[in-house]
Symmetry: C3
Subunit: 256 residues, 3 copies
C-alpha cells in the first residue's frame, strides 16, 4: 500500500500515480491533495494525525516549497512504515507519532540520492513517486538495499510551537484550521477536563463534549478528534466566529 499526500490539487497527483503504477501494482490511497499550498507545517500536522491510523504502508508526501533547490530527499523507516518526501520537516512529526504508537520502533532517516530529474519543478513526479514505488517493491525492511539510500543524522526537524500551561489558564496558538472551520490549537484537550466554561482571549464561552452541546450557530470550546482544544461553532466556522486564524494567539482562562 502506498498513501499519497500533497498540496498539488488537480491533476498533478495523477502524474505521480501513473509513475507509481508503471512500476508497481500497490494499492494507492489518497490522504489528500488539497493541503494549503506550500504550507509545510499544516501538512506535517495532518500527516501526524492521519498516518498512524493506517496499516503498514509506504507514505509519499510532498509539500515542497524548496523543489529544485539542493534540499535533500529523505526516506524514513518506522517499524513497518516507510515515509518518502522532501527534507523540510514535513515527515518527522508523523514519524515520531508512529514510533510512539509502536512503542519500540525507532525513527530511522535515510537520504535518498537523486540526480538530474526530468523537471526542476515537479519532484513529486520525477523523484518522490519513483522512490516510493521502489521502496514499496523492495519492502520497507530492506531500505538499505537501495543504492540511492544512505543513513543520515542530518535532516530538518521543525517542532510545533509548545503551549504554556498555567494553573488558571493556558496560552497557545491556532495550529491549523480544518475544512469545517474548527480552529485547532496546540493546547492539549486535557486542560478542559471538568470545566463547564472557560474564557478565550477574555470572552467566556461554554466547554462542550460535542458540537451539538450548544445551539446551532453558537460558539464553544471542545476537544477535537486529535486531542487538542479547538475553537468551534456548532454547524458553523469557529475560526471566523472567534476571529482566530492559523498562527493567532489563543489565551484560555479557567478561573471564575
Amino acid at each position: 500500500m502506498i498513501t499519497l499526500a500533497s498540496d498539488f490539487g488537480t491533476p498533478y497527483p495523477a502524474a505521480m500515480k501513473g509513475v507509481i503504477l508503471a512500476r508497481t501494482d500497490a494499492r494507492l490511497v489518497d490522504v489528500g491533495h488539497d493541503f494549503p499550498r506550500q504550507d509545510v507545517r499544516t501538512a506535517a500536522f495532518w500527516l501526524r494525525e492521519v498516518l498512524p491510523y493506517f496499516p503498514p504502508a509506504v507514505h509519499l508526501a510532498v509539500v515542497d516549497p524548496g523543489v529544485g533547490t539542493d534540499r535533500a530527499a529523505i526516506v524514513i523507516r518506522v517499524g513497518d512504515h516507510g515515509l518518502v518526501g522532501p527534507d523540510n520537516g514535513l515527515l518527522l512529526p508523523a514519524a515520531r507519532r508512529l514510533a510512539k504508537q509502536a512503542d519500540e520502533s525507532d525513527v530511522e532517516v535515510f537520504e535518498y540520492a537523486y540526480s538530474d530529474p526530468d523537471s526542476a519543478t515537479f519532484h513529486g513526479r520525477d523523484v518522490f513517486a519513483p522512490a516510493a514505488a521502489e521502496l514499496h517493491e523492495v519492502g520497507v525492511d530492506a531500505i538499505e538495499t537501495l543504492d540511492a539510500v544512505s543513513p543520515t543524522n542530518e535532516y530538518v526537524e521543525r517542532a510545533f510551537p509548545e503551549p504554556q500551561l498555567f494553573d488558571d489558564g493556558a496560552a497557545g496558538e491556532v495550529l491549523v484550521v480544518d475544512d469545517f472551520g474548527n480552529a485547532i490549537t496546540n493546547i492539549p484537550g486535557s486542560v478542559l477536563d471538568g470545566l463547564d466554561t472557560a474564557t478565550v482571549n477574555g470572552e467566556r464561552v461554554p466547554v462542550g463534549g460535542s458540537f451539538a452541546a450548544v445551539d446551532a450557530g453558537d460558539r464553544l470550546l471542545t476537544v477535537g478528534s486529535h486531542g487538542h482544544v479547538e475553537l468551534a461553532v456548532n454547524q458553523g466556522r469557529g475560526d471566523e466566529a472567534f476571529g482566530r486564524f492559523v498562527g493567532d494567539e489563543v489565551r484560555l482562562g479557567f478561573d471564575g
Copy 2:
C-alpha cells in the same frame, strides 16, 4: 467493496480509510467528501441518486451534525447492500431507492451499539469506519451475527418535500444545486413532456432535451440525469441565472 461519502473535505476521510484498511482489504470507492457541510438532506439526495449504480457493497456515509450526542448509529440492509451511518435520515432515501430497484428487497434497519469512542467529534473515524469494516468482513447477509447490532423499527426518516402538480403547472422547490450550478427541483421531469417552453416563476424559457438545445449562456428547463426538472444554463450556472437556490420555491406554468 466499501463506498465512502461525507462532508469531511481533506484529510479526515483518510483517517476513516486508514481505520478500515487496518481491518479489511476491501476495495474502497469514494462517493465524495465535499458534500455541503452538515447538510443531511442534500447528501441524502445524492446518495439516493448514486448508490443504486453500484454493485452490492457496504456504503459508509457520514454527514452528522449530531455527532457526540445520543443519536444512534444504524446499519441498513437492502438485499446485498449494507448502509452504515448516523440515524438522522441520511441513509433512508438511498435504502428505499435500492429496495425499489431490487423489487423484492426489504429495508431492514438495525441499531449499531457503540460506547466510549475515542473522540466525541469524529465518529466517522471512531464508530462508523470500524462498523463498516466489521460489516464488510462478516458479510451483509450475516449482519445479525454482529454483537453490536439489533433490529429496530425506530429510526429517523425525513421525506423530501413533495411537489404540487396542476393541469397547467407545477409548484415545488430547489432540492439541491449540483457543481455545475444546475438547480435541481423536486418536480418530476415528466411534466415537461411535449413542451417547447414553460414559465418559471412567471418568466418564459425554452424546454430543452440537452443543455446545448439553447445558445451558450442562455437559460433553459431540462430534465436532469436524476429525472427531475432542473433550471439550467448552457455552459453556465442555472442557480444564479434564475436566482433560485436550495429551498427556494419554483413555480412552473405550462399554458400559453
Copy 3:
C-alpha cells in the same frame, strides 16, 4: 486499469464508478474531476501531460458541452492504451503524445455507436462509463470485436495555438493556469536556455531553474514540468502577479 477524468466535481464521478464496477473489477484511478467546467482545451492539455505516465490502461475522459446533441462518442487505440470520450477534440492531444512516446504506435479512431441513453445530460454515466467498462473487458487489442465500434477518419481535432519564435523573443499565450497559479504558456521552455533574465510583455524578470531561485513572493520565468515556459511566483500565484490568464497574450523578449 481504467483512469477517469472529468469536470464533474462531486458526486457525478461516483455514478460513473458504480456503473463501471457493476461491469468489471478493473482498478480505477482518478486523473481528476475538477477540471474547469466545459473547458475542453484545458482538459485536453492536462490529459496530454498526465496520461503518458500511466501504464497501458483504458482512459475515460468526459468534458462534454455537447452532451445530448448529435456529437459522436469515440474510442481511440494507441498501442495498448484505449481512450474513451466525446468527439470534441478532448482526447486527441493525449493520443498523439502517447503515439509519439511509443514510437511506432498509430492513433486509431473508432466511432462508438449508442442510442437512447437513459439521460440526455449525463452521457458520462449512461454512454461513456459502460463503453469504458466494455472496452476494458474485451481488451484494447480487441476493440474491433465490439459491435458498437467502427473505424472512422472523421473526428474533431483541435490544435493548441502555436507560438511564434523570433531571434530575440517569442510570442504566445497562456494555455492553462495550474492550481498553484502558474500561468503555463504555449512557448517551449528551450527558449529560456542560458538566459538569466527576459522580458514579459516589456517587464524584465529573472529566469529561474526552480521557484526558489527568487525570494518568496517574487516573480520569475521558469520551465514547468510539461516543458513549457510558465509565469510563476515563488510560493505565490503567477497568473495574478503577471496579470495574465488563460488565453492572454504573452510576449517574451530576450535581448539586452
